[in-house]
Symmetry: D3
C-alpha cells in the first residue's frame, strides 16, 4: 500500500478495540485527528446525526462549510452500507444497532497534493430488537475532504 | 455484548493486522477455526471463489454439503457489501481490489444451542485500476452455519 | 431437481391457493411443518413482525434461540424482495400490501446431513393506498436453519 | 381482490406446476394468452433474451413496437428481482439458475378501460455452479401493456 | 434519435428553466400535455403524492384507472432514483429536497402504434436539513401509458 | 438557491441542448471549465472510462492525483444512477445507451471557502439493443473536488 498513514485501519481499530487493546497502537493515533462516540438506535437518521454532532463538537470539520459537511455525510453513509449490507434501513426492517464509531481526519498519502481525507468506522451489533438476538457488524467509509 | 467470543472482531483483526500486531491478540484466536488468504482482482466472482477455495482446502466447511456452502456464500456476499458500498460490482464499474481475507468459524454465544457461526472479513484497498489510486475498504459478514 | 421435498413450492402454493385448490396437493403438505397467516399494511416492519409472531406462536422456530430467529429473519427479507422488487419500502414509497403468507420448515434434501431448511412465501397484492388500484405480487425466501 | 382474472397466479402456476398438477386449473388458462419456456444459465442477459425470444415467436407481443417491448422488459426485470433477491447478477456473484418461465397476457380487471396487462413468472433453482448445491427461487413481475 | 418529440427533454427544461429561459423553447411545448409543480420535503411519500395530486387535478391522467396511476407511479419512482442516487430515502438518511417537477404526456414516436408516453422530471436541490448546505439534483423517468 | 453558479444546470444544458439552443445560455458557460463528449455502448465501464479520458485530455482534473480522480469517479457513478435507475448495469440486463455528457468544474457557492465542485451530466437514450427501441434518460452527479 502506498499510503503512509492508514486512516481506515486507525478508525476501525478505534471503533473496535478496548482501551487496553488500543494501547498497542498508540503511535499510529498521533498523526491524525480523532473523534469517538457511541449510538444505540433503530433509526438510521439518529446514527448519522450522532456522528455529525460529535464531529462538529470537536471541530473535526468546519461547521458552516457545506463542502466538509458533504464529505462527512457521504463517508458516514458508505460506512453504514457495511453495517446494513444491502438496504439502508434499521427499524423499518425490524433491526436495531448498538455501535461505537470513530472518525479520523488526516493525510494518508505521501504526496502532499493528495491533501486531507476522512474515515468513518462503525463497530458493534445489529439484530432483532431483543437483547442478545444480535451479531457483530462493521462498516468503513473513506472520502477526500 | 452477550457473546463470549467475538468472531467478527477476530476475523477483522486477522484480515487487518500484520503478524506483529496480531501477536497481542493470540489468545483470542485459539477458540476458533481460522482460514486466511489474499486476492487481487477486478472480478467479484474471483473474490468469492478465492475465499471458497481457501475455506474448502482447510476443511473449514464440509465440501459436498450445500447447507455449509450456502451459509458461507451469503456470508461472503454480505462482507462484500462493505467493500463495494452500494453496487456489488468491481470491473464493470472500473474498480479493482487488493484484499486480505479471514474466515472464522466458532461458537460465539454462551448458550450452546446457538451452535456454530461463521464470519468473513475483508480488508485492503479499492480504487481505480492504476497503482496508488485507491483507498482502504473493509467488509464483514456473519451467519449461522 | 435433486430435492425430494420442494419446500418453496409448498410454501408458494399454500400462500397462493384457496382451500379447494390446495386439496389437490395435500399429500405434499404432510412431510413439513407449516404456518399460515395474513397481513395488510403500508409498513414493512409490520409484515416482518406478523410472520415472526405467527411462527413463534406455533413453535415453528425456537423462540429464545437467535440462530433460528436469524435464519427466519433473513428468509422473510428475501421473500419481501420479490414483493417490493428493488426498494424494500412500502408506505415511504406510497405503496400498500395485502398478503397471505406461508412458512414451511422441513428437510428438502435426500442427504440427511443437509438438515432442516425454512421457506417463507408471500402472495397477494401491492399498489396505491386506494382499494382496487393494485396488482398481484409474490415473494419466496429460503434458508438453512 | 377486485380482479376477475389473476394473471400473476396463472403465470406462477404455469411456471411451477407439472402437467398433471396444472390439469386442476385448466379453466383459468383459457381466458389469457400464454407462453412457456425454460432457461439454464449464469447470465442474466440470457434469461432476459430467452423470455423475449419465446414471447416474440408466439406473437404474444408485437415485435417492432417499442411500447410492448418496453412493457415486457420491465416485467421480466421485476420478476428477476424475486429470483436474485437484492443484486441483479448471477455469474458475477457465482450463481447459476435453472428456471421455467411463463408469460401471461390478459385483461385482469373488470373495468374494460384497464385494458391488457402482462405477467412474467419464473420458478426453478438458484445456487452454486455445482449440481445439487441449489435451492428454489420464484419471481413475478406484472405491468400494463 | 428516432423520436419526433422528446418528452424527456421537454420535461427537464420545464423543471429546470425559469420563465424567461423557457421562452426560447415554447414551440416544443405545444405538442404535449404539461403539468408543473413544486415540493419541498424530507419525505419521499410527499414528493410522490405531490406529483400525483397535481397530475390528477389537471386530468393529465384518468383518476380512477389503475393502468394510468400505475404508469405514473413507476415513472415518478424512476425519476426519484436520479434525485436520491442509490437509496430511495430522504429524511431517514438525513436529507431534504426542494424540487420543481414537470410531467409531460405525449406521443414521442413517429409510429402511431407507439401511442402515448409519460415523462416526469425533477430539478432542484438535495442536502442537509440546513439552508444552503445542499447541491443540485435532477431526475427523469419515462414510461408508456 | 444560495448558489451563484448552478454547475448542475449548466452541465445538464450542455449535455441536452444542441448548438443553437445552447446559444441562449452562453453567458452562464463563461464562469466554469467545461468538457463535452459522447459515448454509445452496452458497457458501464466504457461510459466511465470515456468520461475520465475526455476530462483528463482537457486537464479538467489533475491526472496523477487520486483525490481528483476519486471525486470525478463518484460523480460519474452518481450520474449513472439517473441513467440506469436501480441497477448499475447495461449489457448484463440487455440495455444499450447512446449518451452525450458534459463535465463542469467551477465554484458554485458565494462563500469562497466552499471551493471547487464538479458536475457530470448525461443525456441521451437507453433501450433494447435494437435501433429505435429506446427512450430518453438523464443523470446528474455533483461532488466537491
Amino acid at each position: 500500500m502506498t499510503q503512509k498513514i492508514r486512516i481506515g485501519k486507525i478508525a476501525t481499530m478505534l471503533a473496535m478495540l478496548d482501551d487496553k487493546e488500543r494501547s498497542h497502537f498508540e503511535d499510529a493515533f498521533n498523526d491524525v485527528d480523532i473523534c469517538l462516540g457511541k449510538v444505540g438506535t433503530m433509526n438510521i437518521q439518529k446514527v448519522i446525526s450522532s456522528v455529525e454532532t460529535a464531529v462538529k463538537r470537536l471541530n473535526l470539520i468546519e461547521d458552516g462549510i457545506y463542502r466538509e459537511t458533504h464529505a462527512l455525510y457521504h463517508t458516514i453513509v458508505e460506512a453504514l452500507e457495511g453495517i446494513t449490507r444491502g438496504q439502508l434501513t434499521l427499524g423499518e426492517t425490524m433491526r436495531t444497532v448498538g455501535l461505537r464509531f470513530a472518525v479520523v481526519r488526516g493525510k494518508p498519502y505521501t504526496n502532499p497534493q493528495e491533501g486531507e481525507w476522512i474515515a468513518v468506522a462503525f463497530y458493534g451489533t445489529i439484530g432483532a430488537p431483543i437483547k442478545g438476538l444480535e451479531h457483530e457488524a462493521i462498516g468503513l467509509g473513506i472520502n477526500h475532504i
